[in-house]
Symmetry: C2
Subunit: 414 residues, 2 copies
């Protein structure tokens, strides 16, 4: 069986994601789709709207056959780290291709850009350094360096616009694949509809995940959203809020984040992963002063730090992820199975013995600092937004088996 | 002016406390009463019902002229540490006597007991060690050792019953005064009415603080309680709950305590002050399993650890008070003024220059690890139970000046 990989967050899964999975399968002539998905904390440095198991259920109901968890350390890293983790896992899972959504929609410009930067790597890296010394954020520095080397294009092939968020991620996936010397074939699909940062619903049937989340927070708009998500997503969202937890957003986590910051103080903050020197005092003062996450962020953000970069620091403060813990995790060390369809199951049973990484269905049977961190992240997520018996939501990594596509009849998550 | 010292918690202040202050003044022929009072966390290892400023207001309205804060490290220590801190401060404040409530009510048996233990200190200390090695808690070991040396009484004078909680504290005050070589004269007043652990209101006008707190949590009994507290206490309690914070109890602090325990893990717990070896795993497992403080405690308590001792550990976990921080604080290093009447003010202005410790009215002007911890404890208290704008309740140690007895007209706390 031939598998194509996708890298997803599904926060929550909407029609655009369904379209992407279908197209990825068709374009690569694959038998099944394998997704590597962020856990309970996401690439933009924020808690997921719903947890990894609820999103796994959505995935399995919408065209994905196997879901592996992208470990915390990679899921919450910047684009290079995120892509490295995700592409490593897809490669380890035996995918013959991977497919990403992009604003560009054409794979050739990505190849051209990679070649350009490879051929001018010295100049490119120096330009990044210079831009960062000027005080630019990392993404802006990349962009500026990219501009600087563009005149060197020899072939004259079209380059990809690296100011677009999905192009950037796709570029990093391809770069990771090249670094890993992966034999997976890269492909891309043009993203439909809403732009990444749009937060209002649009008239067509593809809306941004941001817009959908907003509608669920202001329930009077709930009807509007139903055009943009599969029926299964709707049911899972409703079941989630009724029975399991509140929807995750930073405001709900802020009391715990603030408690952390104020109790542990600036000196402790500086031991946290990704905390840049000097920002600890700024964060500490802002936590004292602000009762809402929104105003707290407004006090911290600056030209030097993107919103996303700050959110990643805050996620690490919340979860207690230190520089020391991060240094123990450099490469993905396991394939953590969150769920599979019957087809996914037969794919895996055929390959189990040849997988280059251990396949984990039961976390208790495996010990690894990265996995410990994933379990800890689940617990902190449940502590902050769990409803009813929170104790029953602690240690879910131990109690929930991989979701099967027949979960609608009798899974523990029902 | 002649001052008599009392050691108080006022959690909350009730008629029994008013009686004690009056009697203390009369019995020692004093001009004023100086109280050393625990801050926001108390000797039994729990958050105060209302904060230190609200309790200072109660004190000044009920016969106390000066309130100094007993620093966190001493306020949350076991009887020996608590008494050492409190008596040191009363001595430093220039009191010529101190007065404590006791079940005994007579000072002579305390002297007899002190003499007995001093004269048999070797046997006594050995008996304590033995009892603890048998697995008894510290208070029970003291008791057993005390029984062991009682036959040695030579004078035949009556000894004090050290199985009663207020007798025990009084004994430690006197022991501390003796160790400090203090010239203060010890006196005691028989406690009236309810026993320390009673939690139902009684028919006379003196009720336990525990009973009063319970009534405020189940507001339908609020009328009953009014017979047992001064009008000023009532007004301050109502103002507190309406305008400032929820009433403090462990259930409100439990989400933060639990977050701490689960996020930081057993290895970190073992760095916390007073955490006995081995209990960290028990605490960690109990935090996973229990959604309420009550059931959590039931999982931890055992013959080896008294409820109070466990609560003190939990307080330190909550506030982040480590063994290292504790080692930096051995003796009280300042007199932190929480409030005073006009009479208290003239007493202090006459003595300011002769005080053996710095007198602190503004915390910003003074730097000390113990004071930092007091400020931190205030902030954590406000984070967990503050109402409305919590930001305005962070750093209160910086913004609230010592309470004056005329606070009813225009203090910042009003």
């Amino acid at each position: 069986m031939k598998a194509t990989g996708v890298v997803v967050e599904y926060n929550p899964l909407h029609n655009g994601h369904v379209y992407h999975a279908q197209q990825a399968k068709a374009a690569t002539n694959a038998d099944l789709i394998i997704a590597v998905m962020s856990g309970n904390f996401l690439q933009r440095g924020e808690p997921a709207f719903i947890d990894k198991w609820a999103r796994t259920k959505m995935a399995l109901a919408s065209g994905v056959d196997i879901v592996f968890e992208l470990p915390y350390r990679f899921a919450t890293g910047h684009a290079t780290v995120f892509a490295h983790g995700a592409i490593s896992l897809l490669d380890a899972a035996g995918c013959t291709a991977f497919c990403f959504g992009s604003e560009d929609g054409d794979i050739e410009p990505f190849h051209n850009t990679l070649d350009l930067l490879d051929n001018n790597s010295e100049e490119y890296n120096q330009a990044i350094k210079n831009a960062m010394q000027e005080g630019l954020s990392y993404p802006m520095a990349l962009n500026k360096a990219y501009d600087a080397v563009q005149p060197n294009t020899e072939k004259g092939g079209r380059l990809v616009d690296l100011s677009k968020p999905n192009n950037i991620l796709g570029f990093h996936y391809m770069q990771a694949a090249r670094t890993l010397n992966s034999s997976m074939m890269p492909t891309t699909i043009k993203r439909l509809g809403a732009e990444y940062h749009d937060d209002t619903l649009e008239v067509n049937k593809v809306a941004s995940a941001t817009g959908i989340r907003k509608s669920f927070f202001s329930t009077e708009k709930l009807d509007e959203v139903l055009n943009f998500i599969p029926e299964s997503t709707k049911n899972i969202l409703i079941e989630w809020q009724t029975e399991r937890m509140n929807f995750g957003n930073w405001e709900s986590f802020y009391p715990f984040l603030r408690f952390s910051i104020l109790r542990d103080g600036p000196a402790h903050l500086s031991t946290i992963a990704d905390l840049s020197e000097g920002i600890e005092n700024l964060i500490y003062r802002a936590a004292k002063k602000n009762d809402t996450f929104q105003t707290f962020m407004n006090d911290i953000k600056s030209k030097r730090y993107t919103w996303t970069r700050i959110q990643r620091m805050l996620t690490h403060i919340l979860t207690g992820f230190t520089k020391e813990m991060r240094s123990e995790i450099d490469v993905p060390a396991y394939l953590r199975l969150l769920g599979m369809t019957d087809k996914g199951r037969s794919y895996l049973s055929g390959r189990k013995k040849d997988l280059p990484l251990p396949l984990i269905s039961k976390v208790a049977a495996f010990s690894n600092p990265s996995l410990d961190m994933d379990i800890q992240a689940s617990d902190i997520y449940a502590l902050a937004i769990g409803k009813g018996s929170i104790a029953s939501k602690i240690g879910l990594d131990y109690t929930i088996s991989p979701i099967m596509n027949n979960y609608f009849s009798g899974s523990p998550l029902k």
